[in-house]
Amino acid sequence: MKHKLIVSILAASSALFITGCGDNKKPTGATAASGATSGGTVGGVALALNYPPELIEGTPKAMNVPNLVQPPDKDPVFLVPKEAVLLSKDKKVTGSDDNPIIGDLKLITDGDKQAGEGYFVELLEGPQWVQIDLEKSAAVNAVCVWHYHSQKRAYKGVVIQVSDDPKFAATATTTIYNNDYENVTKLGKGSDNPYVESRFGLIADGKGAKGRYVRLYSNGNTSNEMNHYIEVEVYGVPQ
């Protein structure tokens, strides 16, 4: 290991201070996600999500990311077309890390959103992605993501894309959510705000984007460098 960590004491005048300590925001509503209090398809019906019970463990870690959105305190209301259905249940999942540290990619679409041991898959650190094959192209209205909710933490570099191309060529891909404010995924800086994981997960507005495949990126989290998924649910209208 080449890198060297030194506990250094710096003169106050030149001290490097850590700033941007969770510039907390209340839920904004709109398109986004955890904290969406409304949004989705105008004139649609409320998406009926089955939220897991809350279960928090251990001592919370500092979340040093800017513009952090806090979780909602009640079930978010998100509207989808009345024809929209759950498309992703038990569908095949692949990923950039095909040898997860713990768990299996199948857990991502098995329908179980519980916190606790045995319900999540852990992927290597750094930017990683998972991809769900819906088997048929669909108009995607909502992508709901539970990364890990037994500890308050925020996942970094979260990007969600929809495409009919399994390779996700840029010209054939729609990005429906992007909070990668550092552009670590090299997919372009995002304007969505990082959010605190909770049992409510993230609801990303698909806005009817067409595609057979849904790909989700992340780049570690505020507690450790690994990437986790408990469950992803894709709702939309089959084409």
């Binding site: 080449k2 890198h3 960590l5 030194i6 003169a11 519980q114 041991e117 037994s150």
Partner: protein, 461 residues
């Protein structure tokens, strides 16, 4: 996607900042040595806390994780996966520590994060096998178990660091060395107060998928009645000391460390206000009496797993001239200057280390020892009459920096630097015992509803 080599290069470039704390040359945690000075490490226990420690060791150069041990196959898989991801080497994994110690050659150290009732047996075995040991606190679920660890350390001549990680936290060391002792900004410390309050929702049973249940014969072999007890051993009297041990031990250790004394008595109360089916209390309150070189100090500690009221976890040292409220969470750290400095008590015992009373808080701010917060708002007084019941609001200050690495990392760095002979342990088993010993009497005091005045024998190895 980034690969491991790129990732290491990236993190190395940004690693130098480490700690950020003002004031020149006041603190130094030992260098962790060169990467070529490899240490072979065994991970004993890779549950939640073991994983926290592993995260804290990932950026310490020169560590080679040679073997892992956990009775739960699921935890072993996580440990193997974490090590494989870090060092491209798949460590040998063991269910049983005896097998690990018998088969693994060339180990330098063991990092133990097993349930409390296994700390002492595991530590003693590792020390007797010639390994240096970093063991999580509480040392043991029994005071005799803790005594055995001290004896094993001293008999083996190996190092044994106990995981009171605040002892190596530069913020805490700076606060004690420079603010409390060096510049005596508290004046005479007369009281201390600390708490760790957690909401009910953060104190639930730990859940697991049924398919991961450990076979009953293995659970029984290792002292667990069933899988629920294995997952939630902290709630059981035979397996742990409960909340006063899990959470309180960290902070009562700070009382003893900062006051430079051990208490002469404890009077505690506790009960099960919410989690009525748990063996251990879900809330405990304890009063400790100290005789310090400065005079008497009374310290109050509460651990509540039933409410987050009161702002989480912190320790407060209240003095005649100022108060320092410190926490691992920098957002909770606050320093207050009394509006009216206390006149000197002519009958107070003379402190040979006392500085001339030329303390200037402004000077400390200018020199970077303190940050300054906004001036306090003085509430208007009706009719211009001063309310004699209320002291003037204190002026607020802050510590000048914060740690930007995992809170356990400096303590582990200190351990491994000590193994390399480059530093001295900040919390060896003997010193940890001196600080932990009174904690073993909190639950007995609460259960008997009686104060306990310590005898020298009770607090000695």
């Amino acid at each position: 996607m980034i690969n491991r080599r790129d990732f290491l290069a990236k993190t190395a470039a940004g690693a130098g900042a480490g700690l950020v704390l003002g004031t020149p040359g006041l603190l130094s945690a030992a260098s962790t040595g060169s990467p070529s000075n490899k240490l072979n490490v065994a991970l004993i226990g890779h549950g939640k806390q073991g994983q926290v420690l592993f995260e804290s060791m990932k950026n310490i150069p020169g560590l080679h994780f040679q073997a892992v041990c956990d009775i739960w196959e699921y935890n072993r898989k996580i440990a193997v996966g974490h090590v494989r991801a870090l060092q491209k080497h798949t460590p040998k994994d063991y269910e049983n520590i005896e097998d690990l110690l018998a088969n693994e050659k060339g180990l330098d150290a063991a990092v133990i994060a097993t349930p409390d009732f296994w700390h002492s047996p595991h530590t003693v075995k590792c020390l007797e096998a010639g390994l240096n040991v970093y063991c999580e606190k509480m040392m043991s679920n029994t005071i005799d178990g803790a005594r055995a660890m001290v004896k094993a350390m001293e008999k083996s001549g190996k190092l044994c660091q106990i995981g009171h990680q605040r002892r190596s936290n530069p913020r805490y060391r700076f606060t004690l060395d420079q603010l409390i002792n060096g510049n005596k900004i508290c004046g005479q410390i007369v009281n201390a107060n600390a708490q760790w309050n957690r909401a009910v929702k953060s104190s639930q049973n730990i859940a697991y998928a049924e398919k991961l249940t450990i076979k009953q014969d293995i659970l029984t072999k290792y002292g667990f009645k069933d899988m629920h007890q294995f997952m939630n051993w902290r709630f059981f009297r035979d397996l742990s000391g409960g909340a006063i041990s899990d959470l309180g031990a960290h902070q009562i250790d700070i009382f003893n460390w900062f006051l430079g004394a051990v208490p002469k008595s404890v009077y505690a109360t506790g009960g099960n206000s919410y989690f009525t089916q748990r063996e251990h209390f879900d809330n405990v309150m304890a009063l400790f009496d100290y005789d310090t070189p400065q005079g008497q100090v009374r310290a109050f500690y509460q651990v509540l797993t039933t409410t987050s009221s009161g702002g989480g976890y912190w320790e407060s040292f209240m003095g005649t001239e100022g108060t320092i409220k410190i926490s691992e969470n920098s957002a909770t750290t606050e320093i207050f200057k009394e509006a009216s400095p206390a006149p000197k008590d002519p009958n107070a015992p003379k402190d040979p280390n006392e500085k001339a009373s030329s303390l200037s808080w402004d000077n400390l701010v200018q020199r970077g020892f303190l940050g300054r917060k906004a001036a306090p708002v003085v509430a208007p007084v009706a009719g211009g009459v001063t309310d004699s019941r209320v002291s003037a609001p204190p002026e607020g200050f802050s510590l000048p920096g914060e740690l930007n690495k995992p809170p356990h990392q400096p303590h582990l760095e200190n351990f491994f630097a000590s193994v390399r002979g480059e530093a001295k342990l900040n919390c060896d088993a003997r010193h940890a015992f001196l600080s932990e010993a009174p904690i073993y009497f909190v639950n007995p005091s609460a259960l008997s509803k009686q104060p306990i005045v310590f005898t020298p024998e009770q607090l000695s190895v």
